[in-house]
């Protein structure tokens, strides 16, 4: 039992200091203004302060801290990607995640569970082998396992899937993990706050000032702020922010829904993703089954839920886990996934000097939170793209030099 908890017992009316400050007034100018107080924006603020000593930073959010996709994803963390650029990037994120509880002095409940991407036909099994071979080449713990290995590791699974599209094998990624998403955002917010970074919730950026090709500041209902650099880390709202600086991108916004069941005693200790049925499930520390499926079929800028999502998910899930039929879905919600044509992020410098982009996070944003913060901080501090994210620059689309993640066709989770 940690000392921090004992204080609550023995010190009268004890409470820890505020995890993040909310200054009454908005400053005149900052070295860096970060738009979006989600996991990525707060991580970047943290690393700007801790790696580069830049603390005159303001993180602005139109709503409450961590209320965007950071608070709406299903918290899966993995690095068994398909391309060399993807593997290197996400594996660096995994390394940071492992030490994050210590680094942030906050238990983010980083729980390595093992991640199975199930293959229900030959085509997805071939893709699994492709990813396994690329992963092994880069030292990522990832291998193709047969259906029996899946049955041993996953109680209650029906390999026959009710008689159609049986499970034929899986890509097994032992380091696959889950974590408490809110704790990651709050942990970074606390460390950044302690280092002097200002976090302003309910402060919407309504315009970005650009003079002769260089960003000079942002406009908010609480006043205009001068800034040496501006970072956009707003995921689902990226196109609207890009429009403020006159930039275009291939990003398209689709709702991505998820749901949880009532909490039950622990029975599923791994993370299950089915490439063919387009659904995934893991069990949270509280005991809820956290489930999701593929994107909504049409572009939409809304977080409304739909019946098709939850009934389609249930239809497929009961083929995999018939025993879950009696479990009840307690709540469903949605985030706004900013998708890109090659299923890779759009990061780093942009044609507008001083304006930096951390976007294109589709269904793979949470797992990149630490490394995206670190690399964006280095990029802003040095004024040029960090080597790890050079391949993800917006300019790649100009000459068709796409990242090859889409080779695997179906979107991973």
């Amino acid at each position: 039992m940690s000392v921090r908890l004992l204080k609550y017992a023995f010190i009268e009316d004890y409470a820890e200091p505020r995890w993040f400050n909310t200054p009454a007034t908005l400053g005149e100018s900052y070295d860096v203004v970060i738009i979006g107080a989600g996991g990525h924006g707060l991580a970047c603020a943290h690393y700007l302060a801790h790696d580069h000593g830049i603390t005159k930073v303001a993180v602005l959010d139109r709503s409450y801290l961590g209320g965007g996709n950071t608070g709406r994803n299903t918290t899966i963390i993995r690095s068994n990607y398909l391309t060399p650029e993807g593997v290197a990037f996400y594996d660096a994120s995994l390394a940071l995640f492992r030490d994050l509880s210590d680094a942030l002095d906050t238990n983010i409940f980083y729980s390595e569970r093992g991640h199975y991407t199930l293959a229900h036909n030959e085509a997805t099994l071939r893709t699994a082998r492709w990813r396994a071979e690329v992963n092994k080449h880069y030292g990522i713990d990832s291998e193709v396992v047969d259906a029996e290995a899946v049955a041993r590791a996953v109680p209650g699974i029906d390999l026959a899937c009710g008689g159609n599209h049986a499970v034929e094998g899986a890509l097994y990624h032992a380091p696959g993990a889950v974590a408490r998403h809110d704790a990651v955002a709050w942990g970074y917010a606390r460390q950044a706050s302690r280092a002097g970074v200002e976090i302003h919730q309910h402060t919407e950026v309504t315009d970005i000032l650009v003079e002769s090709g260089r960003v000079t500041g942002v406009v908010t209902p609480r006043g205009t702020v001068r800034a040496g650099a501006v970072l956009s880390a707003v995921a689902g709202h990226t196109p609207s922010v890009l429009a403020m600086v006159g930039l275009n991108s291939p990003i398209e916004i689709f709702p991505l829904q998820a749901c949880v069941t009532e909490p039950v005693k622990p029975w599923l200790d791994t993370i299950i993703v089915s490439g063919s049925l387009h659904l995934y499930v893991s069990q949270s520390a509280r005991g809820e089954m956290v489930m999701g499926a593929s994107l909504d079929p049409a572009e939409l800028h809304s977080r409304r839920s739909s019946f098709e999502f939850v009934s389609g998910l249930a239809d497929g899930m009961l083929d995999l886990f018939p025993g879950m039929a009696g479990l009840k879905v307690n709540r469903q919600w949605a985030g706004m996934a900013d998708m890109t044509p090659d299923f890779a992020p759009v990061m780093g410098t942009t044609p507008v000097a001083g304006f930096y982009l951390d976007a294109g996070w589709g269904t793979w944003g949470f797992k990149a939170t630490p490394i995206s913060g670190k690399t964006m901080a280095a990029t802003i501090a040095n004024g040029r793209d960090d080597p790890l994210i050079r391949a993800f620059n917006l300019s790649r689309f100009d000459d068709f030099s796409l990242v090859g993640e889409k080779g695997a066709a179906s979107i991973g989770h």
């Binding site: 196109p239 609207s240 429009a243 275009n248 991108s249 291939p250 990003i251 398209e252 916004i253 079929p297 049409a298 572009e299 939409l300 800028h301 809304s302 409304r304 739909s306 019946f307 098709e308 044509p341 689309f397 100009d398 000459d399 068709f400």
Partner: protein, 85 residues
């Protein structure tokens, strides 16, 4: 589940359609556009736009004006009007 009144088909659930975005036939010349902008550029902000919806059961395309912020349908017309004679 959302429904709309479709010309030729009557009241139908959206689930009978596969919804594509804003589609333009590929022009012979791009003018000042580059190939990359033509292939990749999107304007994914909440707005009214005309999309192409395909009804699999009747093999008919429809042009649907939709607000991508509120998801409301503002107008529908069959894509195959009178033939070019």
């Amino acid at each position: 589940m959302k429904y709309a009144d479709f010309p030729l088909l009557g009241r139908r659930p959206f689930t009978e359609f596969s919804i594509s975005g804003v589609l333009e036939p590929e022009p012979a010349e791009l003018g000042e556009w580059t190939a990359a902008r033509w292939v990749f550029e999107r304007t994914s902000v909440p707005r009214e736009r005309v999309e192409w919806w395909y009804h699999g059961a009747s093999r008919l395309w429809f042009r649907v004006r939709r607000d991508t912020g509120s998801d409301t349908i503002l107008g529908i017309e069959p894509a195959r009007g009178e033939k070019r004679t």
